[in-house]
């Protein structure tokens, strides 16, 4: 009996350690960023200067950078992720299904620095020459495309993020699609629906799973650091078009942290940025988990 008690003590110890770490992460963010919030209040969020010499920091441009890049990523990746999920279930011969799913899982497990390296030296020049320059040339009068692009900018970061988050959204959608009751599919076909109409009906049925997948992928996109830091341009300016070089909050931390110790308020400012990122990300992930739960209850 004694060994049993020791075992349970150990078990509790490890579970508490896990909990403690989560609490510790949140506490360290709050405590370390407190000086900047108590000094600048909300102007830390809503101004757009980053001047270490004057110890004047605010993160609006980086926050906008995060929102813009993840918005680009989501709008590109959503149709692709849904198509990939449907393709692997409905269209591809069942022999190749495992292969497609393996490819998708492999995409999810590639290190982000590999995406970054490829994005910087392969994707960025291609996008620059074949997408951004033509858009700027022909549609430059639209403010979104008004800046003369160089290869690394917010748009490149958004496209790279889209590539990276496809598998996450796709696997959530795939699982939900597989869990749709079979009689529903039978009913759809027995009504004389074509394959496409049946697929539309099924997608309507798993709407909340699609939202869940998109939100979880959005959370990923907002938190992604290395790949973005390599292609976003790392320039602290207020973004006026998609082709501006910029920062995201996480790439700002990655880029500025190495020299942060030389200043009094830069470390609190970077932790403050991380704190904002954490709050926004938490809200998005909770929404995603909420939708997943809804799907699980339904099926």
């Amino acid at each position: 009996m004694k060994s049993g008690r020791i075992f349970y003590t150990i078990l509790f110890f490890f579970v508490f350690t896990s909990l403690l770490i989560v609490v510790g992460v949140v506490t360290s963010l709050t405590v370390t960023s407190y000086p900047i919030f108590s000094r600048d209040g909300l102007s830390f969020i809503f101004k757009s200067t980053w001047n270490p010499v004057k110890e004047d920091y605010s993160i609006l441009p980086a926050l906008l950078g995060t929102l813009i890049t993840s918005a680009i990523a989501i709008s590109i990746s959503t149709p692709l992720a849904i198509s990939l999920a449907v393709f692997s279930i409905e269209i591809v011969p069942s022999k190749f299904r495992a292969f497609i799913n393996n490819i998708s899982d492999l995409m999810a497990s590639l290190p982000s620095v590999i995406y970054g390296l490829w994005g910087l030296y392969v994707l960025a020049p291609i996008l620059h020459q074949y997408v951004m320059m033509p858009l700027h040339h022909y549609l430059g009068f639209i403010p979104l495309f008004s800046t003369k692009p160089i290869p690394t900018n917010l748009f490149t970061a958004g496209v790279l993020l889209a590539i990276m988050i496809i598998p996450f959204a796709s696997s959530v959608i795939r699982e939900a699609y597989n869990a749709v009751p079979y009689y529903l599919k039978e009913a759809a076909y027995s009504l004389g629906m074509t394959k496409w109409e049946a697929i539309k009906t099924m997608l309507g049925y798993i709407k909340s799973a699609i939202f869940a997948g998109i939100f979880l992928a959005l959370g990923r996109a907002m938190g992604e650091t290395m790949a973005v830091a390599m292609v976003v341009g790392n320039t602290f300016t207020f973004p006026k078009s998609l082709f501006d070089m910029g920062y995201t909050i996480s790439s700002l931390i990655a880029n500025q942290f190495p020299n942060a110790e030389a200043y009094n308020y830069m470390i609190p400012a970077l932790y403050g940025g991380a704190f904002i990122l954490f709050i926004v990300g938490l809200a998005i992930n909770l929404a995603g988990l909420y939708w997943i739960k809804k799907v699980m209850i339904k099926s």
Binding site: P79, L117, N285
Partner: protein, 267 residues
């Protein structure tokens, strides 16, 4: 419409093939034994060089992370599966699910506060600590799945033998769930080997020594790729491609092994 779906699906799979082809076509010619052992070359000269210190660092950091994060994650996952009715399990599970989605750079900031700022020096231990936190939720959630998939009758049989709880869970039932547990550890290992963001804030990485102790700065392959790729030197870009080929090979190997171990895995 089906054609549109098929072509969109194929488009979304093109990048992964392009990445693998590009990385190996640029990086494979560097893959010699010396490249794996040598110190990095000086930025401007034709001298040969390699990624020795970063490879050693990555091995040390990954093994430490799997040891620390693996044990915490394993027992947490075991608890989540076998005591799922308790309130503690319920909240731990929610916390872990949120933690999976944490931006890893935030975990780096935490490790910096706990282990770098007090020691006043970037160090290997802080890096290993950060990496273990990154992989805990992955391991815990996958171990939970592994134990949950054991049939209830088998659990009843194990306990009806009259053995104590540790023997039931760690010898009898673990041998049933071993594939799932092994997969969980492999997923954690792949994550730890490729993760970069927290290392930037904990180990610094610009050192030309192999290993100077856990309280000293250390390098790692992903960090080397990041630093060298963004450097202005063409020679270092070449090293970055070579290092990327090494990292990609490691990732692919772990991925293939984990697929051979078990067919249906949750990532």
């Amino acid at each position: 419409m089906l054609g549109v779906i098929s072509s969109l699906a194929i488009i979304s799979a093109i990048p992964i093939f392009a990445i693998i082809i590009n990385i190996y076509s640029e990086g494979a010619r560097h893959l010699t034994l010396n490249f794996l052992i040598d110190l990095p070359p000086p930025p401007v000269s034709g001298k040969s060089g390699g990624i020795g210190p970063a490879l050693v660092g990555s091995l040390i950091l990954t093994l430490l992370a799997v040891a620390i994060g693996g044990s915490i994650g394993f027992f947490t996952g075991l608890y989540l599966s076998e005591f799922s009715h308790t309130r503690l399990a319920h909240y731990t599970q929610i916390f872990l699910q949120i933690m999976v989605e944490f931006p890893t750079i935030i975990i780096g900031l935490f490790a910096y506060m706990v282990l770098v700022a007090p020691l006043k020096r970037f160090n290997a231990l802080a890096g290993a600590f950060a990496l273990s936190i990154v992989i805990i939720p992955y391991i815990a959630l996958n171990v939970r799945e592994a134990y949950r998939s054991i049939p209830y009758t088998l659990k009843e049989a194990a306990f009806s033998l009259g053995v104590s709880a540790p023997i039931a869970y760690l010898r009898i039932l673990l041998s049933t769930a071993r594939r799932g547990v092994l997969t969980a550890l492999l997923i954690g290992m792949a994550k730890a080997a490729g993760e970069t963001a927290p290392l930037l804030l904990t180990i610094l990485g610009t050192t030309f020594t192999y290993f100077g102790g856990l309280d000293q700065p250390i390098n790692a392959i992903p960090l080397l790729i990041y630093n060298f790729a963004l450097s202005p030197y063409e020679r270092w870009h070449q090293v970055a491609w070579g290092a990327a080929a090494v990292l990609l090979t490691i990732t692919l190997m772990i991925f293939i092994i984990s697929r051979l171990v078990v067919r249906e895995v949750k990532v």
